[in-house]
Amino acid sequence: MIALGSRVPSGPIEQKWDKHRFEMKLVNPANKRKYTVLVVGSGLAGASAAATLSELGYNVKCFCFQDSPRRAHSIAAQGGINAAKNYRNDGDSIYRLFYDTVKGGDFRSREANVYRLAQISLEIIDQCVAQGVPFAREYGGLLANRSFGGAQVSRTFYARGQTGQQLLLGAYQQMEKEIGRGGVTMYPRTEMLDLIVLDGRARGIVTRDMVTGKISSHLGDAVVLGTGGYANVFYLSTNAKGCNATAIWRAHKRGAAFANPCFTQIHPTCIPVSGEYQSKLTLMSESLRNDGRVWVPRKQGDTRRPDQIPENERDYYLERKYPSFGNLAPRDIASRAAKEACDQGLGIGQGGLGVYLDFAESIKRVGEQTIRERYGNLFEMYQRITDVNPFEAPMRIYPAVHYTMGGLWVDYNLMSTVPGLHVIGEANFSDHGANRLGASALMQGLADGYFVLPATIGDYLASSKLSKIDPGHPEVQRVEAEVAEHTGRLLRVNGKRTVDSFHRELGKIMWDYCGMARNAAGLRKALELIPALREEFWRDVNVPGSDAELNQALEKAGRVADFLELGELMCVDALHREESCGGHFREEYQTEDGEALRNDELFAYVAGWEYSGPGKSAQLHREPLGFEYVQLAQRSYK
């Protein structure tokens, strides 16, 4: 039986983090090198944590499945990172960023965590500038900003359309510096396949070397998962092909509660699917909505070229429905509005699944050169994929799965329900509630990795008695053997269907029944289809090759096996949450004009699911959410 104790410190919200930092125990500098911390994942959260822990003096081992830590999927984030610097003098403040994030998350996040995030946002920008991140600058040499959805201030810092890349390279370089110094040992092309829990504490991981297939255990004093989100459960998403939930899912099966698994973010502006062979979807940054106007024809089945459709026959539906935020309405709202337009038969292009994102007016207003400076690389990317030049014709876009707000449950110290197992970045259930605002993922990943975890993990280590573990410990051997058996089982099925064909089918079930709009009947149907598909997978999957070689089909098979279990939990969670909030839209619960209708009386809590064993239903635990500072209200962007 687990308990979801948030361990939020007492006192006024502005002072909680400072007070907590003072009250936490410290590890003496000379003792830090006696501790080993295992960091899994090398994205913004993992790399920044590994680098900072090593600078503090801890021994760090860092693991990633890519061939280099520089390739973690944080690298693909385009638009920017938020910080409450108020450099624009437009009324921003820590309190406003806190307020916008709690409201943007539709009141399903923990106030104290979000406030801390807003506080730390300032230091992140400073840290990144010091590392040499080439943020965009004004002619006077000061940092530039742009606007993002869900905010009426301009607080997003950016490096062209490659902000994630530049921030990740900053963290990666800081970590490489520590690798060179000997503080961090890096294990690339290494996949975590299980968690070792001894005497109730996370003490190690079991990994597979993806080149030789060797299964090994790594032991330490604490484990940190920064392994990203699980959007690839949908098969088609904007995530990189390798992104997976295996680390967090297997930790869940070892006792870590999984929080709000149904909270997924569908991003409104992605390039639509073009065929069955499609392997992934490409995001077009939200920053484009600063200058692009979203519209559909007013008439159904209007097949005229967009430039042939006169102004009065176009519906700029975001500007019409949400005049105060317009095209910069938050992601969940903009996505749903696009779906609604397409459901009404107004969608454009192949299959009627698309809306226009039009830059004609901005190009006329500020000139082609300015637009090219702002979004040049995004326009090129769009043209390369679609063969259409967005300077000449509007982009065609459609929502796609992009991010998961749910994840492993963590307390204020970012520790899961397994003592010693910490979870950072997108992998935890995070500070974004039921909907994440644009440019906040980078902020959260770096806040966790640079500033929060390095402080809180010391408190855990200093206040725990951790004995040395012998690698021959029977429990270590047992978990290793289980991993080898699981891998062997995948190879032994020797069926007829490829791993991808199962993944595609699962993705379709998730998109149809647990996607942008959900209802009880659909979710019940999915809960029949997924176990049946899982059963078929274990009966008929075909994984060629052996476990003692570089075997990409085997890697995929392990990940899809986990997605087939996680997908079911997502539907269970979506079915139980009988309200609409943020990205979780239950068709049964909506206002008269089709907006999400929350039920604060019954559902103002974090749903933490406890694994109860194979074939058994997960057990629900609730962490009630209190709102002392931001008043619970129906979210309005009108």
């Binding site: 280099s68 500038v129 040499g132 600058r137 490096a159 510096k177 062979y277 991808d500 070689e549």
Partner: protein, 256 residues
Amino acid sequence: MNLSLRIWRQPGPASPGRMVEYEARDISPDMSFLEMLDVINERLMERGDAPIAFDHDCREGICGSCSLMINGVAHGPLRGTAACQLHMRSFKDGETISVEPWRARAFPILRDLVVDRASLDRIIQTGGFITAPTGSAQDGNAVLIPKDTVDTAMDAAQCIGCGACVAACPNGSASLFTAAKLSHLGLLPQGQPERYRRALRMVRQMDIEHFGGCTLYGECQEACPKEISIDTITRMNRDFLRATLSEGRGAVARSD
């Protein structure tokens, strides 16, 4: 469209490899090059054969995983485009396409089209960073950086570390990769204190890793998916030269 493929197959680092022919039928021109390989792999697996191993991840041209030599050209025929962003519409129906891994002494082949590029990470380890431990930074606006400077630094910072420059270079040199990092950090005011030490260490690490020397063929900038210019190499050579000269006088050694 229908294509003939010639693909390098090699079961492991120590085994010999060879080009194997495959027929690729019913390929849509809208597929990306990697999606075409996915389709071939699905077909191979359906008949029980081992799929072709290749590195890939983001498929948006930013992670730098993909590393295919297509018809002898790193990342294929489209300028400024990584293989994952290359679409089949760039090829003609009936064409024969050969696909090989990056070939360089510093990039040993692991399997089929997958190579080991850890040597690039080791170059970064020796100096491809600014020493700024977490917590020590001043306000982000405390140092003014002219827009032109940061734009030029960003042009170099865009490097995705794919290694196409090495694969394209007749000498197997990593000069463009190293020079891009040296330019990014060396142009910015924050990067000045370590500028010459950085140049010295990173350039020497290239030799240790068995990358070749630069003789200014210029093939690297043609192959670079981010179109990084060999101007960066000029900058690297200048900094390296200055660093070696001051090293002779003990200046760099003292700052070490």
